[in-house]
């Protein structure tokens, strides 16, 4: 199974199988190889909203299972989540939160807050941390706190941050983000910044690639855009 960051060969063994266990490839008792999003995802707050971004590569071991996947999933009208780690785990987790948050919104009679959504993600991620491989970035806009970004890394903690970046490609660009990010960017500035950072990560990280998908969430609307793989601002 593929993990977020490339590690030693031994650690890349299938989950649930103990170290040194002589399983063969055709063994039915071993679980099937998992699909994982060796990824670059990020979300950045700006003046009046948030920008979310992700690459589009989903891999099974060395094979690209989907070259145009969507790793930014809708949770509610103005709340979205960037997913990285095991595709099955993060999809299931998102499904649960969509369900719970939908019910909550009906009871509340108004738009739920990003804080609530992030807390739901954290609760499920933390309570099942032994069985999940899910890194999440929850971001969105609500009238209470404006644009917000919450990072929920592997262990199931929840931190509010001005920007978050996760996945196997994140290591290549954190320095770039540190040096170029500043609070109070404009929408266009922030979008360009996210797209550029993702291009850098995709050119250096083998598990990230395809197209750049971005989402801009502001008070009034949600805008989705995509840059094709051959029209990236920074090539390999």
């Amino acid at each position: 199974m593929d993990f977020l960051a490339p590690r030693s060969a031994q650690e890349q063994m299938v989950r649930h199988v103990e170290e040194g266990c002589p399983y063969r490839a055709d063994d039915v008792m071993a679980p099937e190889q998992a699909v994982s999003t060796g990824t670059t995802i990020m979300a950045v707050e700006f003046d009046g909203g948030v920008v979310m971004g992700a690459d589009s590569r989903t891999s099974t071991g060395q094979y690209v299972a989907n070259r145009a996947s969507r790793k930014i999933s809708k949770v509610h009208d103005k709340i979205f989540v960037c997913r990285c780690g095991s595709a099955a785990d993060t999809q299931a987790l998102t499904g649960f939160v969509v369900n719970y948050l939908g019910q909550h919104a009906v009871e509340l009679g108004k738009q739920p807050t990003v804080n609530t959504a992030a807390n739901l993600f954290k609760m499920i991620a933390y309570n099942n941390k032994d069985n999940l491989l899910a890194g999440l970035i929850v971001a969105g806009y609500d009238d209470k706190r404006g644009g917000q970004v919450y990072s929920i890394p592997l262990g199931g903690s929840r931190i509010r941050v001005p920007w978050a970046c996760d996945g196997s490609g994140s290591g290549y660009i954190k320095g770039f983000i540190d040096s170029h990010y500043r609070p109070g960017m404009s929408k266009a500035e922030c979008l360009e910044f996210v797209q550029k950072a993702l291009c850098f990560a995709m050119s250096r990280d083998g598990s990230s690639g395809g197209v750049v998908r971005t989402l801009v969430i502001t008070k009034d609307k949600v805008e989705e855009s995509m840059i094709e793989g051959n029209k990236l601002p920074f090539g390999p």
Binding site: D26, V28, S86
Partner: protein, 278 residues
């Protein structure tokens, strides 16, 4: 090293009473394999090529027909296209038993749902039910599926992995021959194809799997799902591996074996004066 867990305190006892799934036996199997060298049994798996495409007004699925058991071909003409509903079919790769059981269970669930609601079943319903189930079993049900259907919202094609992740795509391939088939798909797929062109493309992709992947072989099965006619399986749409030479057995001429002696025995004696009772 693996240890078989024994309850240490009341917390462990409480944990053991919480219910839900237990993967204890998976740990035990790993322990037995490591310590006693006992290998768990193997099941029949279909090293497979399956694929599916969405064309202008249809969804087309296709599969090869080889089932393997280790290095042996277990079935040369098995059927890998499964019926879910009139308008929904699915092609399966992975463990044969799991695939058959899963698709049959889904077929019955969807038929019951159709009767209860009185509406045409939708592809997204099947996808959600399958992915929830596969996720629950954490990859231990070896089902890799290409699911296609035509419902009230249009044509849909999904791929579902054994761990329960799903992707919605215009064209897809799965199984051990998926790389060979994807090469054909990537080169020739186009969303404005006609049904006839689509059938030719999926058959070509499967043929590429049959010839270039050891786990795939046999014939090509195709399934076309349209809005009006629903699904239609074209069994053995192409037969690229037909047997060319048949072993010829001539009958032995009379007298090949000399007759040494001849005895005729009466095995049944028939009595003629039987009186019928009324």
């Amino acid at each position: 090293m693996v240890q078989v867990e024994e309850p240490q305190d009341y917390v462990d006892v409480l944990q053991s009473h919480r219910g839900g799934f237990s993967f204890e036996n998976c740990k035990r199997n790993a322990y037995l394999a490591a310590q006693a060298g006992i290998k768990p049994p193997t099941a029949m798996k279909s090293g497979t090529t399956i694929c599916g495409i969405v064309v202008k007004d249809a969804v087309i699925l296709a599969a090869d027909t080889r089932a393997t058991n280790g290095p042996m071909v277990a079935d040369k003409n098995c059927e890998k296209l499964h019926y879910i509903a009139k308008n929904i079919y699915c092609a399966g790769a992975g463990t044969a038993a799991d695939l058959q059981h899963t698709t049959e269970m889904m077929e019955s669930q969807i038929e019951l749902l159709r009767m209860a609601t009185g509406t045409q079943p939708r592809v997204c319903t099947v996808v959600k039910r399958l992915s929830s189930m596969l996720f629950k079993y954490q990859g231990y049900i070896g089902c890799a599926l290409v699911l296609g259907g035509f419902d009230v919202t249009g044509p849909h094609l999904y791929q579902i992995y054994p761990h329960g992740s799903t992707d919605k795509l215009p064209f897809t391939t799965m199984g051990s021959g998926s790389l060979a088939a994807m090469a054909i798909m990537e080169a020739e797929y186009n969303e404005n194809m006609s049904i006839e062109e689509g059938k030719k493309l999926v058959a070509k992709a499967i043929r590429s799997g049959i010839f270039n992947d050891l786990g795939s072989g046999g014939n090509v099965d195709v399934c076309v799902i349209t809005k009006d006619a629903g699904g239609n399986i074209l069994r053995n749409y192409e037969k690229p591996n037909e047997r060319k030479f048949r072993a010829q057995h001539k009958a032995f001429p009379k007298g090949t074996t000399p007759v040494i002696k001849e005895t005729i025995m009466k095995l049944v004696s028939v009595e003629t004066d039987v009186v019928m009772r009324d």
